[in-house]
Symmetry: D2
Subunit: 345 residues, 4 copies
């Protein structure tokens, strides 16, 4: 296996540290350096004791590598990537900075003027199951958001096949790690524990990603309501998706359920990380690994497709997906370093 050198910009958040954890288990790459603004000069294992086996000091600046990951917050990420990209380094950006195609959308959804709009056209949206070939030859990959990963994978087969109306509700439930490591009352243990609530009812930043990718798959405009919820667990996202069936596209009754299931199995038949399951999946079944579990069914009383999908938001929803992209970009088998089973219970 060819050995490649990689680095992580901003290892001090949860996506950065999860990348370090997964890379440690990857036989083909050498994690050459990690940076982190708040912890320069400290040992990685001092900052994150679970990473003590990785013998690295946290640096201030990136150095040359074959590929780098940026786990910086939005805006800062695009700024930090300009120099490495000029040097020809391959990049997987875990921030939102390269996910949208229209620079204006960053003003609308993220409240800042994009510092490098010329990159938006080049960046490939790193959802491997939809864009495998482009990712494999990309220099610059925009790693999808956690919610979009679960939502798009849940809905793409149905929209591609045209079996649902393009009027969709996605009700998503996320563990608290999705909110990152920034300290807030919302993520303070005493207030997040034993609590469930909806948030971002005005429109969550992941909405434009979801709508853009699904409209591309559907080859038409779609109307989609996306409501995220925070639940008292650390990891995991569950998306419950609802849309009315287009009449006549699928059999009625129990037979329709089978057809929907088969349609999904066909769509994802060769995918190593997407599994269609026969019963409603549970986030705990993907804890710590890179799988997305999907269960499509039909509410026969309402002629409505109901699709439930789940992932580990920090793995398939962030760092694992980034590794999957890296594997393609560097010529490794796609599953390298990602074979761990979920940890249960």
């Amino acid at each position: 296996m060819p050995q490649a050198k990689v680095g992580i910009i901003n290892v001090t958040g949860y996506t950065g540290s999860e990348l370090a954890r997964l890379l440690y288990q990857h036989p083909g790459v050498d994690l050459a350096w990690v940076t982190g603004r708040s912890a320069v000069g400290r040992r990685l294992g001092e900052f994150f004791p679970h990473l003590a086996a990785i013998d690295l000091e946290i640096k201030a600046e990136p150095e040359e590598v074959d590929l780098l990951f940026s786990a910086l917050p939005h805006k800062a990420s695009a700024e930090a990537l300009l120099a490495p990209l000029e040097q020809g380094t391959k990049v997987v950006d875990l921030s939102a900075d390269l996910r949208l195609k229209d620079a204006e959308d960053y003003r609308t959804w993220y409240g800042f003027t994009h510092p490098a709009p010329h990159l938006l056209a080049e960046a490939v949206y790193g959802l491997v199951e939809l864009n495998r070939a482009q990712i494999a030859r990309a220099r610059l990959v925009a790693n999808p958001g956690c919610y979009p990963t679960a939502a798009i994978l849940a809905l793409a087969p149905a929209l591609k096949a045209g079996i649902i109306e393009p009027d969709i509700v996605v009700d998503a439930k996320s563990g608290v790690s999705g909110a990152g490591r920034t300290l807030t009352f919302t993520t303070h243990f005493s207030e997040a524990n034993e609590n469930v609530f909806a948030y971002a009812l005005e429109g969550h930043r992941h909405l434009p990603e979801i709508v853009h990718e699904l409209a591309r798959v559907a080859e038409r405009e779609i109307s989609l309501t996306f409501v995220p919820h925070l639940v008292p667990m650390t990891r995991g996202i569950l998306c419950s998706c609802y849309a009315r069936l287009v009449p006549g596209k699928i059999a009625s009754g129990e037979k329709g359920k089978e057809e929907a299931s088969q349609l999904y199995r066909d769509f994802y038949q060769d995918e190593p990380f997407v599994k269609i399951v026969d019963t409603a999946p549970q986030t705990k079944q993907t804890w710590g690994n890179n799988l997305c579990l999907i269960h499509p069914t039909i509410d026969l009383r309402c002629e409505r497709l109901v699709v439930v999908s789940c992932i580990d938001n920090l793995v398939k929803g962030a760092a694992g997906q980034a590794l999957q992209c890296m594997n393609l970009m560097l010529g490794f088998p796609e599953t390298t370093g990602l074979e761990s089973l979920a940890v249960f219970p």
Copy 2:
């Protein structure tokens, strides 16, 4: 305040024990006895240490009282109520046995032949906010299910006003106590903890209640998909409800949100236990008390009404609601014994 004698059939589950807790704090009633099949002869405080201040032995059989609560499982409850009803005792039944109007529905949804179908016509559905006057003069009240309480209160104003299409999605999230005290893998700590999942995708037993009551309010048929989820917390239900707006019934843009909010405030203006709130409510804000918090808003991109409601499933969703009914049936002020604030954090 007149002193009344009450009893609890089957105190050994969570709705039974919660009733005992709330009744202890009610100045106008004397809890005369409690029964419980698995614990006959034991002190209540030995079985439930938090109830040690209630000096009662668990009995095998009910005795005469002014009003009794049944917290038995379905089927057993209807059977146990026949004798007390014949003696003229007022009854609040917390099981599902008297909630549906058509005996046939019990075969379909609960899998048993109803043992007392003649009671179904008489029983009043105990959702005080919709049926206050009838409850006050009722002999027999069917206490609503936990999910129906949150879902019906969330949707009744919009359906009454005709502002939404009768094609609705209710995505509900419940704490684990809603599954009761029966031991299952689903409610085993190691498997419920750090986990979220949908269940009952074939159709949950609370669906007919919800549809029946809402159709009554809407005065038309409705199509409603209801998907419950289990979340890793003990108490609380959050319902997120979605339905498209009927064009022209409500202003467009931000003004429409205000109109929706005002419509809800008007509907519940004199209700002591329903509060319309300006931001998305959190289950923890109702922990241990009898409030239902509701936040209606509009997804302007999709012209869709989104209503989020929450309750404590064991209080407003069960025992608290039963006490609220009891207060009306026995002539107490409606809020007596239910004034405690939520315990936070």
Copy 3:
């Protein structure tokens, strides 16, 4: 019942908000005002939605009342109390500022020079079970810390009776709300959840309180190791206390266990808020109420007394205890406003 006016300085933390919750349920007091530095001008119910029924605006400065509670952090509390004390207001201070007798100890344990050392002699340590008479006639009460409450109540009977050697280990486990509302990584949901750890191994600030009060009870010096642990729950403290038996003071074998239990029952026989229980108590059995449950037993293999005690750290460990003191200071029955049963499950 005489109506008294009270106020809360710094309502914006968990002890402050818990005081407000409990006072709302007290029939004899009128909560006249609350202050809070970070939230001046906001409605209390906007800041803490569970307190929405309390119609108060958060003020900058205290006004005149019969008794006030200070829930400020240490140092700030002593400073803020000087003016009200000069005006003759009765005070229950929930900070640590008046718990220790020697001003020098504040330099050692809290790292500041005490701003009002003249108050230390006057302040009564507000553990009602040990100091009831003094509290009843006090102007100034130092409300005990949460750990000291559980530890002292667990050990006082044994030390008073001289049945244990004065060489003691207290291993304490606390819910996360004990760490307050200040945002830290330690209390960040994703890091506190699914985690247990010891902290303050160099010596926790509650140690001098515990040692001072127990030495007073024992009438001799004691050597005591106190190690607190954080556990992933919101409320509750459990103390497990270990000390060798003094030979010959208590019967050997099972009879010794009975004698120990009887000794504890005698010690607390008239206490409304301390219960000696026959099996190991659980923190959940005191959730939201003012009880301290204690179970003394003997490890017969090692001739060691083992005492397990538990409380709700925000009630008997803070706000409930403060209310208990207030009841004595203002002439109310000691249990007024504190009769709620624990909320279970």
Copy 4:
């Protein structure tokens, strides 16, 4: 690497399923079969969805392999091992059946007459750090209990060096998975959540193991109180150990702390799975991996050694340790299949 065939008797509990998870990641072994009484004939991945990648049907009976693991409950395990042992199969027994040396102890502590007392002398106690050489040449290994692993590793260095009095308190805190998959009220989510309690105050079954092994290390009798607690998390054990220092064996003051730390570092200097850490360790830092973290310190006020250790109870406390033994018994490098970092957060 030589390829070996292994099997798991009773895969349907948490130690069995965790073994399957770890073995899947081991490059040198082939998991040939798994048995499970309650699930014979079902696919492993149907019973445990996180193991779906392991293509096995659950069998009724073991077949021939190079080494087998028994994850049966006590008594059943010894009975099941007789036949394979006669056939010369190497065995790692995860039950308690071979941990004690005196058959009589099984009557006292486990309440049954040992069905194969002749095996007790041969069985090697599988704590690699103490018995590496014997395990490597053993045919029959008794995998240590979860509590004993954490407690023995925490205390062995101090007892070996004779720096502490042989009068010890071990206060242990365990996640709920330690109680296994059997359904009980104690492990029912609604009752285990938001709760902490001590149990087995009469004497826990792991006590004789701990005392026996530590007495062997200390080469003298020891008096040890062991009190386990259940905390509301799934995985993890934390042991806090307390014992007075023998006067004169170690320097006084801060220097003593350094000497204690150095003594521990020397004792475990070449161990791949034991790490001496400078600050109090957290169970979350070992989540899913095979490390034991240990922090020794001294309470200078009391001249008491305090040692805090932690492990993942299902890995180093059960399945990981069994794999570590297997590696030695089959000639693999000791760390093979056990290199995964902890999953954090």
